[in-house]
Subunit: 286 residues, 2 copies
């Protein structure tokens, strides 16, 4: 996906939010914002949104001398989802279509995103998404594809959200013959994206036959890029591939054979999908 | 009110929206965004938000060669409110407390604001605001102050919204002994702020004993600034003073004896008022 001009002010907003997470020093906030704005003005606007996002968050990390500005926020998100987990689990179990409910909740969890969003209410979102109509709904294809699937590749998105993903995978395990689950996490911190640490914290590793693959956070040595041949091979090697969130939708858009589960949270992604901001999506890309 | 760092990305978003209203040329969008970002980087961040907003919108006007980029949008807003007017009027008339309902609707109309907002749904907002709890509620003071009031000064905010203001003033006229109404409008176009043209279009001049005062849009010769001695005198000379919206709340904050009616639509204003984004406010400043 090409950069949209809307991303330019949005990145500045993100940088400001990130520096505020770790410091109350207004002079530092201003310094970060000015350097980010300057960098964006000098950058090549033919880059992809994640490429520029990496540049932006690199500035935040450098000027604040903090390798993971979202550390506290990620822990809070993980904790709130762990707290909600028993209730969510019960909602799925008691549902007339547990998989459908688990899919809905996994999309609701996608609201935990400090990239496009300033703030959100997780419990309200979960309630709304359980009733909401899908703007794109390839659920039937999902139920077909899972029938003979033995391996699942799951691209996670954000900390906290991965608790909802755990519930979805648990539900899939009950409904299918899946023998191997591979979760893709970030090989290092970037925004509030889930890392291996978060996956362990919310108990993804407690699932049966689970493995973790690391993908690049934009820094060297953290894993392959989303648009790499390695990631393409990962996708090909699995029977079922699920991708969560906007960042993966952007970054994995040139691959085929994936289910994209997400909430459209910014006008750029919404317009690419032909939906409205706030819409929920279960899209199969053949 | 001092500039908040959040205003910096927000102004860029506004400029982008404005140029898109009048042109589909992506190269022009990019040129405007770049020039606005550059200007903001060079500007004095101790300015007030309206001062910087004027700089930003001046760039849009210059590069697009269009003195009023929001012209079409303002007409659309005026038209939709005129269409809703009979229903709104009935809602007020049939209400157990017509003035309270008219105040609520006037605040709902404040959603028509292309400054902080990307998009909005007017009818949904009106429905919600009719039931919503006020975050600051000086209604009792309003009912006291109107008892002996003979003159009203009313600072309007946006095109379209002034249709709701008309309904509020009509309702006030029935409940009071008001003999003279003065509406303050912008002396020239800026964002989607109401000008005399809009006031005439929605029929504000059909009210009894009405006059119009023009206030600066940031350009020379369009009227006094909000923080001027002239505006201070206007306020002193009237028994009842009502100010609509965020811009007036920011700009008139150093004056006393006003009722501020608004919806908090951006985190900067919400935090200054000690409320949440989306909250509705009827605040008397003694």
């Amino acid at each position: 996906m090409k950069l949209n001009l809307d991303c330019i002010p949005c990145f500045q907003r993100q940088a400001l939010q990130a520096v505020r997470f770790i410091s109350d020093d207004e002079a530092l906030h201003q310094k970060v914002l000015k350097e980010v704005a300057k960098k964006l003005l000098e950058s090549n606007w033919d880059s992809t949104p994640p490429e520029l996002a990496h540049e932006v968050h690199r500035i935040v990390k450098r000027l604040t001398n903090e390798s993971d500005p979202y550390k506290e926020v990620k822990k809070e998100s993980n904790d709130s989802v762990l707290k909600m987990y028993p209730v969510l689990q019960k909602q799925v179990e008691e549902s007339s279509d547990p998989l459908r409910t688990a899919v809905r909740l996994a999309i609701a969890g996608n609201i935990i995103d400090f990239g496009p969003l300033q703030s959100f209410n997780l419990e309200d979102t979960a309630r709304e998404v359980l009733k909401k109509q899908f703007a794109i709904d390839d659920y039937e294809t999902l139920t077909e594809k899972i029938e003979d699937a033995e391996t699942l590749l799951f691209f996670t998105d954000n900390a906290g959200e991965i608790g909802f993903d755990k519930l979805l995978v648990e539900t899939l395990l009950k409904a299918t013959n899946l023998e191997k689950i591979r979760f893709v996490v970030k090989g290092g911190p970037i925004i509030n994206d889930a890392t291996l640490e978060d996956a362990v914290y919310v108990g993804l590793c407690d699932l049966a036959n689970v493995e973790f693959l690391k993908m690049s956070n934009g820094e060297a040595g953290t894993g392959p890029e989303r648009n790499s041949q390695t990631v393409k091979n990962w996708i090909k090697e699995h029977d079922l591939v699920i991708s969560k969130g906007q960042g993966n939708y952007e970054g994995l858009s040139e691959h085929n054979g994936l289910f994209f589960l997400l909430m459209a949270k910014c006008p750029v992604i919404a317009s690419d999908l032909g939906v409205e901001v706030g819409d929920i999506i279960l899209k199969y890309k053949q």
